[in-house]
């Protein structure tokens, strides 16, 4: 390790930040939640999650947080994901394949335009 200069501190921070985003709960621009209940896993949620993880790795994306959760309740439409963008309603996509995942990543996650073809719902369920 070479001796660092003041400006290197910011670089180290930038490079390391993505590895502690999960712990801090941020900062991130978009959160992708793969629903991995038994139904999701059976329908191939793991393949979808790995597809996202690989895209993030290959493109060296730093502001997308990947996480998983249990069943989203619409088991017939699995595998499903929810894409949450700061300040926008969450979007649920269903019946995904790695190809669809790739398109969602390019169009929605990177460019911000919802891929209407695969959308199941926009917004939250009502909470009691």
């Amino acid at each position: 390790m070479p001796k660092i200069k003041i400006k290197d501190l910011a670089k180290i921070k930038e490079n390391t930040l993505s590895s502690i985003t999960l712990r801090q709960g941020g900062p991130y621009r978009v959160k992708v939640n793969v629903h991995m209940g038994t139904c999701g896993i059976a329908a191939g949620a793991r393949t979808i999650m790995n597809a996202f993880l690989s895209i993030i790795e290959s493109k060296n994306i730093k502001d997308v947080l990947m996480t998983t959760s249990g069943c989203a309740g619409l088991c017939s439409k699995e595998p499903m994901i929810t894409v949450e963008t700061e300040g926008a309603a969450p979007v649920k996509y269903g019946e995904l394949t790695p190809e669809k995942a790739d398109r969602i990543f390019r169009e929605h996650i990177l460019q911000g335009s919802i891929v209407k073809d695969f959308v199941i719902a926009v917004g939250h369920e009502r909470l009691a």
């Binding site: 001796k3 993880l53 990947m66 998983t68 249990g70």
Partner: protein, 608 residues
């Protein structure tokens, strides 16, 4: 770098390590591999998370699900259910005493909810052995700030304005100390030293250990900033040898800082050159006292000297020396980053004109004893004792009655129920016969005998007294002898007066704070619990059932169900009886160890 979808933050502080954290890590990694999850989920080892009572602990991110009291045999189920199938497992979560439903999210747990983290802001978030993790949390930014945009005088001014006072217990304003040290060095044209006091010796106190274990770079950064302000090139950390994990992590952190050029010559290309050396203490309590510590650093016996020669003028090797406690140093970077004004918004009093005028910022306490949630807590100055004991600490174990809280380590005093609403800061507790001290807090309940507790602390201090001055050396021994007699039922009428006289002499004439504050446990127990001394001396009774010479043990036949539990567990076979028939204790065999008393679920064992 491949992202992970989940991180398992495993607490690897001393408490959790001793209850099996490394075994948990091994099992977790094995199971994750077995289930094919090791590329998606990783285990991260952190410093002390604070909730030591419930170790080993794992925090699951990003959802902040908190698991506690884990055993290796729980791990396969946990990995399969939660990490594979996404169903958090309720039975491994924390359930507050007296409640049925567990609390899944860490920040919802009362123990964490009411804390305010400044010094411990990185605990459980960074890997203490990775300098990059610290930098990602704005580490060394304060150092960069002082090197590029502040003069040493401005740094001292900022620390003075923040009202930061010595967290080791003395409460001396840090900025004033730095200024005096710098001044002495300039006047005599001498080299100066900065020293970090990590010789934390109070029984039940482990604030400094946890800070170093969870965030060692914050202490190092604080020391570098101090060195810049004071103008010195050599720093030392005096740390207990009994803290092996903390020593290792600190050594790793210093080595990493050196590699990055954050220690050594021309730090971050500036004119500042500074390095830190670790010195391990050999386990003498008195070496936590500044002058004894410096004597020990010089290779001499750890004996304090008279205080009229200040260490900021003539300290280590007779050079101006600035000694601050671990927690004090760890406060420095964040004050520089966020400013004195922000820091003064937290805490009590007003420090704008008088640095002794208030207590600012937070204080870390180690909460131990008879509370439900023992652990490490950081709270804003000014919080009440009651909030710490009952809200954060979750009240007294097994629904017993609160008796007293002992603050400030062996030299602090006991505070009873009526003082629980006092605010905690440097000055308030001193007025009622105790002190905030370095942050040890021991809670006692109805089963604690105050005479016995006072005896315990006096015994500790008697062993740790260096013996240089007579009031401390002989005073403590005499006090111990008297207290020992009282607990054996041989107390005399004049004993309490003698204890008070001895206390008076010791306070007035001891050389250092060890002797000067040593009578606190005796005086505070005499003042707040005189009836206990009275009962011991005159009625030959110990109502808490601790002093074995002063009670007998019985079984109440009306309450005993004949469950055989005590009978089986009695180590000397003193209990006889049959199933479903009330048992009895053979008092010729009974050693009054209290095992039956603790085990009985029906309160049938009586100490009288």
């Amino acid at each position: 770098m491949k992202p992970y979808r989940m991180e398992l933050m495993l607490c690897a502080g001393t408490g959790c390590v001793s209850c099996g954290a490394f075994k948990i890590r091994e099992t977790l990694e094995k199971e994750l591999e077995l289930k094919g999850l090791k590329d998606e989920i990783r285990v991260v080892q952190t410093g002390c998370n604070g909730f030591c009572e419930k170790g080993p602990l794992v925090l699951v991110t990003p959802d902040q699900i908190f698991y506690c009291s884990l055993k290796p045999e729980n791990i396969p189920l946990l990995v399969e259910e939660h990490f594979l199938k996404g169903r958090p497992v309720k039975r491994f979560m924390f359930t507050p005493p007296k409640e049925k439903e567990p609390i899944p999210i860490m920040s919802d747990i009362p123990f964490y909810k009411q804390q305010m983290l400044i010094v411990l802001k990185n605990r459980g978030i960074i890997d203490p052995e990775k300098i990059d993790d610290y930098i990602a949390r704005d580490g060394y930014i304060a150092l960069a700030k002082v090197l590029t945009s502040m003069t040493p005088e401005e740094v001292i001014k900022e620390i003075k304005a923040s009202g930061l006072r010595g967290r080791g217990g003395g409460g001396f304003p840090t900025g004033v100390k730095w200024e005096s040290c710098k001044k002495a060095g300039i006047e005599r044209n001498e080299d100066r030293y900065v020293v970090c006091n990590a010789d934390e010796g109070d029984p039940g106190a482990y604030m400094d250990r946890s800070i170093i274990e969870s965030d060692p770079h914050s202490v190092i950064e604080g020391m570098i900033i101090g060195a810049y302000a004071i103008g010195c090139s050599q720093g030392l950390v005096y740390i207990r040898k009994e803290y092996p994990i903390a020593v290792d992590r600190l050594a790793t952190a210093i080595a990493q800082a050196r590699e990055y050029g954050l220690l050594g010559k021309n730090i971050l290309e500036s004119n500042l050159s500074f390095d830190i050396e670790i010195h391990r203490g050999a386990g003498a309590f008195v070496c936590g006292e500044s002058t004894a510590l410096m004597a020990s650093l010089e290779g001499k016996a750890g004996i304090p000297r008279a205080k009229y020669i200040h260490t900021v003028e003539y300290g280590l090797w007779n050079k101006p020396t600035c000694l601050n406690n671990v927690e004090t140093w760890a406060n420095v970077p964040i004050i520089i980053n966020r400013g004195a004004q922000w820091f003064t918004s937290i805490g009590t009093g007003d420090v704008s004109t008088n640095p002794w005028g208030g207590s600012k910022g937070t204080k870390v306490f180690s909460l131990t004893g008879k509370v439900n949630n023992t652990g490490l807590v950081e709270v804003p100055m000014g919080i009440s004792l009651r909030e710490i004991v009952f809200n954060i600490g979750g009240g007294i174990r097994r629904n017993k009655e609160f008796k007293a809280v002992q603050t400030g380590g062996p030299s602090g005093g006991f505070l009873p129920e009526k003082h629980l609403d006092l605010q905690i800061d440097f000055d308030t507790l001193t007025e009622v016969g105790s002190m905030m001290g370095s942050g040890g807090m021991i809670v006692t309940d109805e089963n604690t005998c105050m005479v016995d507790m006072a005896k315990y602390f006096i015994d500790f201090l008697q062993n740790e007294s260096c013996g240089k001055c007579i009031p401390c050396r002989e005073g403590l021994r005499s006090m111990y002898d008297i207290l020992d007699r009282i607990t054996k039922g041989e107390g005399k009428d004049e004993d309490t007066d003698t204890l008070r006289d001895l206390s008076d002499v010791m306070i007035k004439s001891s050389l250092c704070a060890l002797g000067g504050s040593a009578p606190n446990p005796v005086l505070s127990s005499l003042n707040y619990f005189p009836e206990e001394y009275d009962k011991h001396i005159h009625d030959k009774q110990c109502s808490a059932g601790v002093c074995t010479a002063l009670f007998e043990m019985y079984i109440n036949p009306k309450l005993c169900t004949g469950c055989m539990v005590c009978l089986r567990k009695c180590p000397v076979g003193a209990i006889t009886g049959e199933k479903k028939v009330a048992h009895s204790i053979d008092r010729t065999k009974c050693t009054k160890c209290g095992v039956c008393y603790d085990l009985c679920k029906f309160d049938a064992i009586i100490k009288q």
